[in-house]
């Protein structure tokens, strides 16, 4: 990773408190050091001896191990920043990163929150509000609407195209859902769905929505300064297990250029509509069969998978965040952003893939990650480190970048075979298997791919 900008230290921010832990804390400290900014890491008692605590200029203990008693304590973090003379707080991802009240507390205490405004976090964090913003910005949302009669339902379904989903307006959590593959299905199910909805929720109104049988999760990285917004390309995060991303890559493979351009334009329209400031991600569901896409949500923070974007654009996204947080305008124009090659990332977790992916915390007696041109490891783990039972099970992220997708994939496969993490169970073997499947090699799998693959794998094992 090279930093081609920021020759001189930023104007305002000279010391930053990092309100996070694990690999992202180490990642953020890395960029701040390059920029000549002092780092204060807030740690819980469990993280006093973490890699981040050692790398930071100062580590300050904010509470006990449980996140609710440390990393989620707004008051302690604000006091820690003030008490150590930090002008800004970097929230990382997770924990308080998308809490409007935390951003607000920074604002009222004269601290710079390295992220969007509290109001923006609030607005995009509210699902209904976000859908409304999308509609106002002419960004497609999952098509559908409330219908009162079968007539109306048939008409709407005809417009959307089958299959459709019949949902109870008053329902939730998957209750009262019915799938109709044709007009005949819809006719026979409509009254039943309506009657069930009335019985279950006391409200017989139903909603007909497009059912995406084959969807890809594709997201667009955006960067705004409160006025202008540019995009930094796309990422495909379709390899998921129970909505948790497992493998991510940039750019999305086998995506028609026309759709890629439309996704970029939609992401920029959405962000501009709210005058977005800082780094953010617009997530879309791409409907493979209908060749269309819908807005899912916006993440108003840095993402776990940001390294794939950094590797193909040559940008340092944390440095861009700091630049904006210093009150500067975008230093890049859209035409300055070039994408080269292909990057793939595997999330390495301490988990037991043979036991329903249950977290497998413990001490890593020996850790080794291969290094080389095109390889990047973002981790907080070294020999002797402990994956604490108090937090997520992420060990780190292994990322490979090459000129072509196939080369990047092969490089990653070979690097995974060299990783050594003794003492705990990890998902490395699964990553190697998935990278070698014909579906992944072809590129462009849908979000159901990993679930199907795991089910098959389990079935094969039990039949043996």
């Amino acid at each position: 990773m090279t930093l081609t900008h920021m020759q001189s230290p930023p104007a305002k921010i000279t010391r930053v408190l990092i309100a996070n832990r694990g690999e992202i804390a180490v990642r953020v400290i890395g960029t701040l050091k390059k920029l000549g900014i002092e780092t204060v890491l807030a740690v819980s008692t469990a993280d006093r001896n973490s890699m981040g605590a050692r790398l930071a200029d100062r580590a300050i203990c904010i509470g006990s191990a449980r996140a609710t008693d440390s990393y989620l304590l707004i008051g302690a973090l604000i006091e820690a920043a003030k008490g150590t003379g930090a002008q800004a707080i970097h929230p990382g991802y997770g924990f308080l990163s998308e809490r409007a009240d935390f951003a607000k507390a920074c604002e009222t205490n004269g601290l710079i929150f390295i992220g969007p405004t509290a109001e923006q976090i609030e607005r995009v964090g509210n699902k209904l509000e976000a859908r409304l913003i999308a509609q106002q910005a002419k960004v497609p949302v999952v098509p559908g609407g409330q219908v009162d009669t079968l007539e109306a339902a048939l008409q709407l379904a005809e417009k959307i195209g089958y299959p459709v989903l019949i949902k109870a307006v008053g329902g939730g959590g998957g209750r009262g859902l019915k799938r109709a593959n044709s007009a005949t299905d819809l006719s026979s199910l409509f009254d039943l769905a309506s009657a069930e909805a009335l019985a279950a929720f006391g409200d017989g109104r139903v909603y007909v929505e497009c059912f995406v049988t084959q969807g890809r999760h594709i997201e667009v990285q955006v960067l705004g300064d409160g006025k202008n917004v540019i995009h930094l390309g796309d990422r495909d995060c379709s390899v998921q297990r129970r909505y948790q991303k497992v493998i991510e890559e940039a750019p999305a493979p086998n995506l028609p250029d026309s759709m890629r351009r439309e996704l970029y334009a939609a992401a920029i329209r959405f962000s501009k509509h709210i005058a977005y400031r800082s780094l953010g991600t617009i997530e879309f569901l791409v409907d493979v069969q209908r060749q269309s896409f819908y807005f899912l949500e916006m993440n108003a923070r840095i993402q776990v998978e940001h390294p794939v974007t950094e590797l193909i654009t040559g940008l340092d996204l944390v440095a861009e965040q700091i630049d904006i947080a210093n009150g500067k305008s975008l230093r890049l124009q859209q035409s300055d952003v070039q994408q080269n090659g292909h990057a793939i990332e595997c999330r390495l977790n301490a988990e037991d893939t043979d036991n329903d992916f249950s977290p497998a915390p413990g001490k890593i007696t020996h850790a080794y990650f291969p290094a080389g041109a095109g390889l990047r490891i973002d981790t907080h783990i070294e020999s002797g480190a402990v994956i604490s039972p108090f937090y997520d099970s992420m060990i780190g992220k292994l990322i490979a970048k090459a000129d072509t997708r196939d080369d990047a994939r092969r490089m990653l496969e070979s690097a995974l075979s060299e990783v050594r993490l003794d003492g705990i169970k990890t998902n490395i073997a699964l990553h190697r298997d998935v990278l070698a499947t014909p579906e992944f090699i072809n590129g462009g799998v849908d979000t159901g791919f990993l679930g199907r693959y795991l089910a098959e794998r389990t079935a094969q094992r039990t039949s043996k």
């Binding site: 001896n49 904010i62 509470g63 707004i74 302690a76 820690a80 007696t365």
Partner: protein, 159 residues
């Protein structure tokens, strides 16, 4: 007494070549616990301070010992004193208001409910009680200083 990184590496090497699983060393200002990998595993996991013959591991052990001596420079080890620690991070006040007599000073008698200071977090004042009965031997934090969670505020000789 102090221990350098080299000292710790030596001690680990001696332990490693011995038939003992565990070593505890306490001297003025220093408390060192080393456990052979796997011995008393539950405790070892908690403390992360267990050691193995790998040099890499000893490297990650070293800063821990340093932290212990840096944060609590006047640790009295086996002297039988009890630490009163900060229950939260915030700004410490040793007196009820500016210019007033401090809550406690050296030689004062405290019981479990005696207020020894106030910690301010986001304009909320939280009183800190001694939670121990005895005589104050040492106060360690100045008025208006920020204290970390678990930082030693005072030391008490239990009665």
């Amino acid at each position: 007494m102090s221990l350098s990184h080299e000292d710790v590496v030596r001690i680990i090497q001696i332990l490693d070549s011995s038939h003992f699983d565990e070593l505890n060393l306490e001297a003025e200002g220093v408390k060192l616990s080393i456990r052979r990998n796997g011995a008393g595993e539950a405790v070892a996991k908690e403390k992360a301070a267990s050691a193995t013959p790998h040099l890499k591991v000893t490297e990650s052990t070293a800063p821990q010992i340093a932290t212990q001596t840096v944060i609590y420079p006047s640790a009295h080890g086996a002297s039988g004193l009890i630490d009163i620690r900060a229950p939260m991070l915030g700004v410490f006040y040793g007196a009820p208001k500016p210019g007033a007599e401090p809550f406690i000073s050296t030689g004062a008698t405290v019981d479990k409910d005696t207020v020894i200071g106030i910690i301010e977090v986001m304009k909320l004042m939280n009183s800190v009680s001694a939670r121990v009965q005895g005589i104050v031997v040492e106060t360690l934090v100045n008025d208006g200083e920020m204290v970390e969670y678990d930082q030693v505020l005072a030391r008490v000789r239990p009665a």
